[in-house]
Symmetry: C2
Subunit: 317 residues, 2 copies
């Protein structure tokens, strides 16, 4: 299961009741932080999310409202005695953008590593052994005024383990766990691969965080079928569509359209302009476009779980 916490929903500048847009994903006790504007560390505390177990900070782009919380967060991690390494990823220009921020944080007792995600996505257990082997983070191209990217986190789910097949193949019970976790085993000269004892792969979990972006096909493609997407929606009004586009953003309607096209399970809008006093006030229209859209609020949380009824939700079978 995956816990998603929306830490903030503001754009440009933090407001008293609206921290800058960021989100935390926690799985098996480890965390990925998406974006880190000024105040993100406080928003995380307020939401009850510990960033001490964050292995990766995934930045969507390098505008101040998405990165200026980094030096303070790194200092706090230092003060609290962190020793585990911290990785930071982001689009083109990562080293140039991060070097001064990391320098501001001063010396740390833990390494801060700048990493690029491989095209096939990063297997999260490369960062910390507690991440499931099937957890993977990928970046996808978005369209903002500067180099930018969104992120898709997937937790794949292998097929159901079939003890009758394992028994028929004579696999010792002590090796069943390895097969269940996707490893090939050997015993007495026999080699058994996972697909010999597992049913068809089952539906996994998928979470998407868009960052700042105009509507673009790569976003819809990357978000396809996600259980939850946190989607930027900087402007509330239909008539602000052109303005949003010009600034590399979306309005509420466009974000809802993207969510509908991607057929996501649920979409939380976020990254609201400070001009929007009450985003909920515009949601009647939003839900007409995509009924499973929700008005993102600071501290909103959802646990994504594997479906209990595998048959009904199995895909690729």
């Amino acid at each position: 299961m995956i816990d998603i916490t929306l830490l903030g929903t503001a754009a440009l500048m933090p407001l008293p009741d609206r921290a800058l847009t960021a989100a935390a994903l926690t799985c098996c006790g480890r965390t990925i932080l998406f974006d880190c504007g000024e105040g993100t560390q406080t928003a995380a505390r307020r939401a009850g999310v510990s960033l001490m177990k964050a292995d990766l900070i995934a930045l969507t782009h390098y505008h101040g409202d998405h990165i200026l919380g980094l030096p303070g967060l790194i200092q706090t991690m230092s003060c609290l005695g962190r020793t585990e390494p911290l990785a930071i990823t982001g689009p083109q220009g990562l080293h140039e953008a991060m070097t001064p921020l990391i320098a501001l944080a001063g010396p740390t007792a833990f390494p801060v590593r700048l990493i690029a995600l491989p095209p096939e996505g990063l297997a999260m257990d490369a960062l910390h052994a507690h991440w499931p082997g099937d957890a993977r983070l990928s970046a996808f191209a978005t369209e903002h005024r500067v180099p930018s990217q969104g992120y898709a986190f997937t937790l794949a789910r292998p097929g159901r383990f079939m003890p009758e097949r394992a028994r028929a193949l004579g696999v010792p019970v002590k090796l069943w766990g390895l097969l269940q976790r996707g490893q090939t085993v050997e015993f007495g000269g026999v080699t058994v691969a996972p697909d010999m004892v597992l049913g068809a792969a089952r539906r996994g979990l998928k979470f998407v965080f868009t960052g700042d972006t105009a509507y673009c096909p790569s976003l819809v493609e990357a978000a396809r079928g996600a259980d939850l997407m946190i989607c930027e929606a900087t402007y509330a009004l239909d008539e602000q569509a052109a303005r949003a586009e010009a600034f590399g953003h979306m309005n509420f309607r466009r974000a809802a359209q993207a969510a509908a096209q991607a057929e996501v399970g649920e979409a939380w809008l976020a990254h609201y302009s400070q001009m929007i006093e009450d985003p909920e006030a515009y949601f009647e229209n939003v839900r007409k476009v995509f009924p499973r859209a929700r008005c993102g609020r600071d501290g909103m949380r959802k646990t994504l779980r594997f479906a209990e009824d595998d048959q009904q939700l199995t895909i690729n079978s």
Copy 2:
């Protein structure tokens, strides 16, 4: 009159209910901000203080919890269309500390000037004409682990204008205002200086912000007779006195002793370690040392006014 707002009371790291220690002083619609940690701009909004009218940011030292809110604040000022210049002052090392932070904020439509306060203090009307001519900000030496200074703001009050003297000297009524504001006037070959028509100087107002510091005589001297002092008090317990001293801080008792020695009107303690859950819980002892000590809280505000009864409060007369 002067409005003082305590924007935050935390040390080291911001907490959900405790922003990093900073304060705003507002007089005649213009503001000085003392320190600017991560989240200070949000704390100011929460307290209803506009930093758009801040002419000066006075930094006590360059530890992250006192300066890392600067890039975001400057960006916000830009977003909100500020064009008025902004000055920043601080102890030795100002240019080295500020250059990377200001660079992070990116280009601004207003000049950001780094200034040193002259030894006699800065006449605030040099920064903006709305400051009273008698408003002055001075720095005083403090003892922290790095170059550091505290600040004393004074608003002097000229003697009472005596119309009977002005009349006797034949000063035209239209020139009375200039004399009241401390200017010498000439008319028909006659020169009249303010002291010829004003009574003895009356008690003005004084505010002191200590920044991080161990107890030191220069602090007591600088704070002497202040109407209000916001005083660092990082540790709560008596037995933490040595630890506080070693780290360039004070515990509650030491801060109260400093306030008592300086005979300030009121002292607000602030800059509480995150280990202190409820600072008020320790105040029974604090008030035994200095009864006019108050437990600083985020958003606490006080208006300092000239005394109505001049005779009783006049000094130097």
